[in-house]
Amino acid sequence: MKTKITFYRNQLGMTQEELATAVEVTRQTIISLEQGKYNPSLELAHKITKVLKKKHIEEVFKL
């Protein structure tokens, strides 16, 4: 799954560690998500979208 997590995270000046803490996962999970290696659950995708201040999941995650 392709994501724009890195792009939006950098826009907010947020580190991987800060994002990981905000959505209650490990930094390694954020790294895997950003590299498109791991497909998140709907719940985690929602949380990340919210923390990155986006309205729709599709803005952050793309199949």
């Binding site: 996962v25 490990t26 999970t29 895997s32 791991y38």
Partner: protein
């Protein structure tokens, strides 16, 4: 429970259980090991030594069993652990089934089943039951 979950980290790559992550965790483990060592040298009967050693080992095992579910795991960790546990189970099952099959086959040839380890047979049957019950529970749950 004597130990606290924040003293430990989940063992990720090898084996099951947890390992100390803070000095309190290391102190807890060291105290347990020193106590076990001291017990071996104090002038008491060997039976009492065994009982006391088993008691401390039990405390360690129970503490680990209580701490493990409390150690933080995110969804990716849980998925990885589930896959690793499944693979480990298949490895264990392969060895168990091969061993029991060999025991039953060789016993059948001699017509003497006293060499079959019925605990191993029970372990396989119990595993099958737990799997069936888990599937049933999970199907009804979601």
């Amino acid at each position: 429970m004597i130990a606290k979950p924040q003293w430990f980290k989940r063992r990720k790559y090898f084996g099951w259980g947890a390992y100390p992550a803070t000095w309190q965790g290391w102190l807890y483990l060291a105290v347990a090991l020193v106590l076990i060592a001291i017990i071996q040298f104090i002038p008491i009967t060997s039976q009492l030594k065994i009982v006391l050693t088993i008691l401390i080992a039990l405390i360690l095992i129970v503490d680990t069993a209580i701490i493990m579910p409390k150690l933080s795991k995110d969804e990716r960790d849980k998925k990885h652990e589930a896959i690793a546990e499944r693979n480990a189970l298949w490895a264990i099952l392969s060895v168990l089934v091969s061993g029991v099959s060999y025991q039953v086959a060789s016993s059948a040839v001699r017509n003497d089943f006293s060499n079959v380890d019925w605990f191993l047979v029970a372990a396989i049957i119990f595993g099958l039951l737990v799997k069936a019950m888990s599937n049933l529970y999970l199907d009804r749950k979601d």
